[in-house]
């Protein structure tokens, strides 16, 4: 904890010139209230001091009585979370952009402006993000007073986007496309086989979960949030539970903690193997796809054996877990881990030594560590570029506090490195499963939870298979939450795929896209768009221009 408090002290020092009040809602958190006009300066100071990274921007509508909208800029360094809190009047919500210091803030700012109607001054991209084209420009879904019984539509038709545009072909990928098992709509402009521009339109899977949670009670929300994503449902529920339990000041029994952790690792196993298969399929290597998915069934069997379900295993309840581990489960888990370990070694050998496959992965989609920092990527995508960014290591939670995780890092930054990171993580997860089972504590599975949750705010960060998952939970003291904000890893990672696509042959695009393991369902509970400069389509792009575009596009 000393390291964390040192970091927080440092953050307080950096922001002293602008801070109006400093509070510590939790031991690892620092809230600094500042004036909205000081925001760019304070952010620039944090950036100049290299203090952490921008994890999320949470917007809160404080209601008609208060008349203000509040924005929280969460910065994370290790286990420490410092938040800059600013407010702006509801009637004319306006905040300065911090994209100059943090280019990665662009997507967060756009999310906020669409959902809460905040105008960001100086933000580079103000196009609609994830709501349909015919969504009324005056209706902001996350404001408390929006009337959702109305359709909130205006009569606009989207312009047709397919086909030729000027001199260049547009290759549309999605929302129904074999490379994507989930909907997202990408458009790549190509000159011959080379990609020179990339745009994405998300929101096909945008269901509006963040609003829906405000209309359901704490327990119902658990099941709703689980269904943000079918691949990483457990980790979403875990992040939510951790946040709510913090608010309710409930301690989860150690056995339940271990079981949660165990499921998180099983989830990582099945998610990474799923990814390995899909990525191989993108490269036209269907035999590896089939093999990976065949072996993945072992993990699915384990999940089913313990929880009764293959996909939404729904292990968590508020205050603990539902399922206990019986002795036969432990044997099955140990055997399963041994099998996956053996297969992972084989796959590691395969993807690193198959000459034809290596031609598709080595040197493709290279992202340097500096680029990764600027774009703000998380999870295996960041770790493939030599950045140690793993919440399990930096800010251990649940049983990770007792069983430390060895971070898996590769430095090449190309697709091959991302393959290596994920396959080596399979091995690490198998090791963790063994350690967890060895140290499985005895005792109860659940602690009683109150029906109403004490008013307050909590932040929980967990490491999903795709990277850091950031949850902000706010309770007003009632039976329903006041605000839950989930910042998913794909939101941070997707921009990197678009930037890395530029200048690559079309054939590499599906692999680069899948390389970050995008999860649009996660993303689209709220979503983002990233556009190339449409007016420039007819010109030849120089390398310098491409590079500049790559840098600017992230802002």
């Amino acid at each position: 904890m000393t390291e964390t408090s040192r970091l927080l002290e440092q953050a307080a020092q950096i922001t002293t010139p602008w801070g109006k009040s400093f509070t510590a809602p939790e031991a690892n958190r620092l809230d600094v209230v500042i004036d909205a006009n000081d925001l760019p300066a304070a952010a620039a100071a944090l950036n100049a001091a290299c203090w952490g990274y921008l994890a999320a921007i949470t917007g809160l509508d404080r209601g008609a009585d208060d008349g203000r909208i509040e924005a929280l800029y969460h910065f994370c360094a290790g286990a420490a979370v410092a938040a800059l809190r600013v407010t702006t009047p509801r009637a004319e919500a306006r905040l300065p952009s911090i994209c100059a210091a943090y280019p990665s803030a662009s997507i967060f700012e756009r999310e906020l402006s669409e959902m809460l109607g905040v105008t960001f001054v100086g933000t580079p991209d103000v196009t609609p993000l994830f709501l349909p084209e015919d969504w009324s420009p005056d209706a902001y879904p996350l404001r408390k007073d929006i009337d959702l019984s109305q359709p909130n539509t205006v009569p606009v038709r989207p312009p047709p986007t397919n086909g030729e545009n000027g001199k260049h072909f547009i290759i549309p990928i999605g929302p129904q496309h074999p490379a994507l098992k989930e909907p997202g709509h990408f458009e790549f402009s190509v000159a011959g086989e080379t990609v020179i521009g990339a745009t994405v339109r998300l929101g096909y899977a945008h269901r509006g979960i963040e609003k829906a949670v405000e209309q359901r009670n704490w327990v119902q929300d658990l099941y709703l949030l689980e269904r943000i994503c079918g691949i990483c449902s457990h980790i979403h529920a875990t992040a939510y539970c951790l946040g709510v339990e913090k608010l309710a000041e409930v301690t989860v029994p150690p056995r339940a903690e271990t079981i949660r952790t165990l499921f998180a690792e099983l989830e990582r196993l099945h998610s990474h193997m799923l990814w390995l298969g899909v990525a191989a399929h993108e490269a036209g290597f269907d035999t590896l796809f089939m093999a990976a998915w065949r072996d993945r069934e072992t993990v699915m069997d384990l999940l089913e054996q313990i929880s009764g379900n293959r996909v939404h295993y729904s292990v968590n309840v508020l205050g603990g877990v539902k399922f206990d581990l019986e002795p036969q489960h432990i044997d099955a888990l140990l055997n399963g881990a041994a099998f996956i370990e053996e297969r992972a070694r084989y796959y590691f050998d395969l993807v690193n030594h198959d000459p034809l496959f290596n031609r598709r992965t080595r040197g493709v989609g290279v992202m340097t560590a500096e680029q990764a920092e600027t774009i703000g990527v998380v999870g295996p995508t960041a770790r493939g570029s030599g950045i140690v960014r793993d919440v399990r290591v930096e800010a251990p939670y649940l049983a990770y506090t007792r069983c430390p995780v060895e971070p898996i890092v590769e430095t090449d930054g190309d697709l091959a490195a991302r393959f290596s990171v994920r396959i080596r993580e399979l091995l690490e997860s198998c090791r963790l499963i063994r350690v967890l089972l060895e140290t499985l504590p005895e005792g109860a599975l659940q602690t009683r939870m109150p029906r109403r949750i004490r008013a307050g705010e909590a932040i929980s960060r967990v490491e999903a298979p795709r990277g850091e998952l950031f949850y902000f939970v706010k309770s007003g003291g009632g039976e329903m939450p006041e605000r839950i904000h989930a910042r998913t890893p794909t939101l941070c990672n997707l921009a990197s795929a678009l930037i890395l696509s530029i200048g690559r042959p079309l054939a590499d695009i599906p692999m680069i896209l899948v390389g970050v393991d995008p999860c649009f369902s996660c993303n689209d509970r709220t979503a983002t768009i990233h556009t190339a400069d449409g007016s420039a389509e007819d010109e030849t792009w120089t390398w310098e221009r491409l590079r500049r575009y790559g840098i600017e596009a992230t802002r």
Partner: protein
């Protein structure tokens, strides 16, 4: 033998054996063998034996949609030309132990060219539908055609040079009487097999129809009976290609049994390769053909010329 008899005989040969229906049926069965084998290599059960037949009949019975952007006549004509050219290319081939229906000196070149007409038709189909996937697919198909066509033809001309004839059945008879050219011209055999895979757009040379990038490539807009004809052409081309390579390099195909055993053995070989590799990018496959395969072939030809003195 009067004129009428020879005419009906020729018609039967054209329509049923060795041309036409029988050829297409063999093609469908070979497609099944290919898919089943891949499935088994991937640890799956795979399709049932009548699967390709059911696929084709279903496609034939389905509604055919001609996209608004496509030329209706061309759209319908291209698959027909493709099938016709592939079937025509079978005329000079001895198959199932039968003599070729129409052999003439130099028919080897004609056969290979007629096979290429299939690729051309596919590309034109892609260009004709005004879909970006079709266009990119067509471009890739042509690019690949230009890179493998010359080496493939040269690889088939190796046995022809050894036999001293450019007539397929003459070369095959020479192949029966002499040691397998697989052993005398191993590099040529290798190139012929790889060239055949490229011709049939099998993995790792399936960039023109890479599903994950450009949906179904040139055939993205094709469905119903037009697609059925293209599938039939491809299946037939598979049989013809296998017959050519097996006949020239594996010591001829004198009787039906040898024909089946040798072509199927070759099919097993290319299916194995197909299942084993990831897809080559189009630039990588072009490089492969011109930089490596071409050199292998030149070495082969050099060795042949030197040994002949």
């Amino acid at each position: 033998m009067n004129a009428f008899d020879s005419l009906t005989g020729a018609l039967a040969a054209l329509l049923i054996l060795p041309g036409g229906l029988a050829l297409m049926l063999i093609g469908l069965i070979y497609e099944w063998a290919n898919r089943k084998l891949i499935a088994r290599l991937q640890n799956r059960l795979g399709p049932r034996w009548f699967q390709p037949l059911a696929d084709v009949i279903k496609l034939l019975a389905k509604q055919s949609i001609v996209p608004a952007a496509a030329h209706p006549t061309l759209f319908a004509l291209l698959p027909m030309i493709a099938l016709a050219s592939v079937l025509t290319s079978a005329l000079a081939l001895p198959m199932l132990g039968l003599a070729p229906a129409y052999a003439f000196p130099g028919d080897l070149i004609v056969t290979v060219c007629l096979l290429s007409l299939l690729t051309l038709c596919l590309s034109l189909a892609g260009f004709g539908t005004d879909s970006s996937f079709g266009l990119v697919g067509a471009m890739r198909a042509l690019m690949q055609l230009f890179s493998y066509e010359a080496p493939f033809l040269l690889a088939l001309l190796g046995p022809a040079a050894a036999a001293g004839s450019w007539q397929i059945d003459v070369i095959m008879r020479y192949a029966e009487a002499n040691p397998w050219m697989l052993f005398t011209q191993p590099l040529g055999f290798f190139v012929a097999v790889v060239g055949l895979m490229a011709k049939l757009e099998m993995a790792p040379f399936d960039a023109p129809e890479a599903h994950t990038e450009i949906v179904s490539g040139p055939l993205t807009e094709y469905g119903g009976r037009h697609l059925a004809l293209f599938r039939l052409s491809k299946d037939t081309a598979l049989v013809i290609g296998l017959t050519l390579v097996a006949g020239l390099y594996l010591g001829g195909i004198a009787d039906p049994l040898t024909f089946l055993v040798k072509t199927l053995a070759l099919l097993v070989l290319i299916t194995g390769v197909q299942a084993l590799f990831a897809r080559l990018r189009i630039d990588q496959s072009t490089t492969l053909w011109w930089r490596y395969v071409m050199i292998l072939l030149l070495v082969q030809w050099l060795v042949m010329m030197v040994s002949r003195g």
